[in-house]
Assembly symmetry: C2
Homo-oligomer: 358 residues x 2
DNA sequence: GTGAAAGCGCTAACAA
DNA sequence: TTGTTAGCGCTTTCAC
């Protein structure tokens, strides 16, 4: 069929040109056009050039559905996108998604978002998998004992987890994670280097493996520096007012000069208590949070915070995914990346904050 | 071909069952199975039941690529996902994406994310469009005079914009937006109702139509209440310290008792200046921001802020998209939704904040 | 190096 | 109401 009348100006043709259109116009077979796109090395240079020219003239781009059907791939990576938790500073997920989109693009993939359903945690995965809508998944919520990773493993579905399989010793899937303990070690040492010796910890409840991991960074660094942790730790819900209460109690009972927190949300609570008590963050009391959220960045007294290298995580996730999908051996089952410390005023005694409470 | 050996336990078969597998097993034709899935009304109840049973037994789910190829659709909505701006409180985009994913799911769509490229703003759109990888786009950055909306219109690509075509009178595409001026009217009236008469505005530079729209809400509400705006307005960059500086200048020169800001980022700057000057937000000076960001929510003195109904925007966007894709007439070219005011301590003189600076 | 044939899994159109 | 035929656009296989 002739398609000479398909294009009007630079407007998209009513129905896009196909391989056959390009072949006819370039005077080659359809297969040669396909090769020009997918295996250019197979063509003679002059043929290749001619075909490429025609492709450009027609604005041809291979039809995704047809290619997907034939190759049994989709170039899509599925990611369950859960709602942000209001009232917290946790937006690491969003930052990760941005990075993942970028990293995927470079590998020729796009990211497909699907909503989570607490009633049926694997439902979304199952649908996409059975309809071969995605090539692989990236799983982000591997803690909480949710069944996704195990379920996907059992289905032999290709996936990479962002997060260690904390509570599953038998897990055999590949994962990428950030060393939270190392981040907190960084934070704790940073405060020690600035002269603090009584450094308190405000973390999550004991049933959070991530929280316990981060906490261990505080404990080990304190002990490594010959400092006591007795009476300096608190475990609370990850909400602002819990952080504020914990800070108040700790200040009254243990006189810490600094706080390391498991999250920016808790750190905000600490800052609130300091404000109430007219203590200046940084000068009077050091405070460090975790996640380098927007809150940490725009809070008037910049909040020092552990920053996860989410860009690197995304790159590593995509790299692992590619290996998985091309059936290459995966170098190692897990990759642990080092976070950094975003240092701001809240941990800097040397940087007095203008107009601190008298 | 027989697929009896395809399934092992509840594990995903090596190659998923097809329509033909279901048809053979149910003793019907392929078309009948297809109808059972897509036009169940056409089947006799007992046939339908039998086919459905077989579908369930086999765990059959229609192959997406095949369906896409045949129907020339993808059930995918493309969305350009730009990186968050660090150092600001603007995360409305992320919240919108969450809502869009949910709303799309209910309409049978998934959201495909692709990265933006400042060098080639329409590149990502062009690729997806020409390869028929998505059915439609949602465009979120319609201001800034960027060419996406116009380009997509010219390509006759189905899309809905979140945001009005501010700077293009000739635009004919459909859009959904939030009435920023109405939000600011709400904020301003709220402050007036609480006794403020000298209410200052801190907004963006004049070349931002969104900023000018929001500003108009302040102007109109002030005038409607017989209040002067003279010397009470400032236009700055959307960064914290600009907000802080503007607040300082305004306080010195015009003695406002409250601030309405075009963004939470600017409001944070105001709060910083108040803190430096030992003025209590809410009691001494009222402050209202815009976007109800996480920052507004977790800041120790809760920041009153205009909240965009992003969930409703997403629902409206998807509804419009469906109409567009099914070639139904679109009711109206533009839909304007009303924001709400999330009231917190920063605008409440009646709610004294514990431990405010003496 | 290039071309012809086959078929991926599905659904629109039509026939029975 | 159900079945048959054809073909969406592409790539894999194999012949030339």
């Amino acid at each position: 069929m002739g398609h000479s009348d398909r294009r009007l100006g630079s407007q998209l043709p009513v129905t896009p040109p196909t391989l056959a259109d390009v072949a006819e116009r370039a005077g080659v077979s359809r297969q040669t056009v396909s090769n020009a796109v997918n295996n250019p090395d197979l063509l003679r240079p002059d043929t290749l050039e001619r075909v490429r020219q025609t492709i450009a003239e027609l604005g041809y781009s291979p039809n995704r559905a047809a290619r997907n059907l034939r190759t049994r791939t989709s170039s899509l990576i599925g990611l369950r996108f859960n709602p942000v938790q209001e009232g917290t500073a946790n937006a690491a997920m969003d930052r990760f998604v941005h990075s993942l989109v970028e990293a995927s693009e470079e590998a020729g993939y796009h990211v497909l978002l699907f909503p989570g359903d607490d009633e049926d945690p694997v439902g979304g995965y199952d649908n996409l998998l059975r309809s071969t809508a995605v090539d692989a998944f990236v799983v982000t919520d591997t803690y909480l004992g949710n069944p996704q990773a195990a379920w996907l493993s059992q289905q032999r579905a290709p996936f990479v987890a962002f997060g260690r399989p904390w509570d599953d010793e038998t897990a055999r899937h590949v994962w990428v994670d950030v060393d939270g303990a190392a981040g907190i070690r960084l934070a704790t040492q940073h405060l020690i280097d600035r002269g603090h010796t009584r450094i308190a910890w405000i973390g999550w409840r004991k049933d959070s493996p991530i929280g316990e991991d981060r906490r261990s960074g505080w404990v080990s660094t304190m002990h490594a520096n010959g400092l006591s942790t007795t009476g300096l730790a608190s475990r609370v819900e990850d909400v602002v007012h819990s952080g504020a209460e914990a800070a108040a109690v700790l200040l009254d009972e243990s006189r810490p000069t600094a706080f390391v927190c498991a999250s920016d949300t808790l750190a905000m609570g600490v800052l609130h208590t300091l404000w109430i008590r007219q203590l200046a963050p940084g000068r009077d009391i050091g405070v460090v949070g975790f996640d380098d959220s927007q809150v940490a960045q725009v809070y008037p007294v910049g909040l020092t915070s552990v920053r996860q290298p989410l860009e690197d995580v995304a790159v590593e996730v995509v790299r692992t995914l590619r290996a998985l999908l091309s059936h290459q051996p995966v170098a190692s089952r897990g990759v642990l990346l080092e976070p950094a410390l975003a240092i701001r005023e809240s941990s800097q005694p040397g940087v007095p904050v203008a107009g601190r409470p008298a």
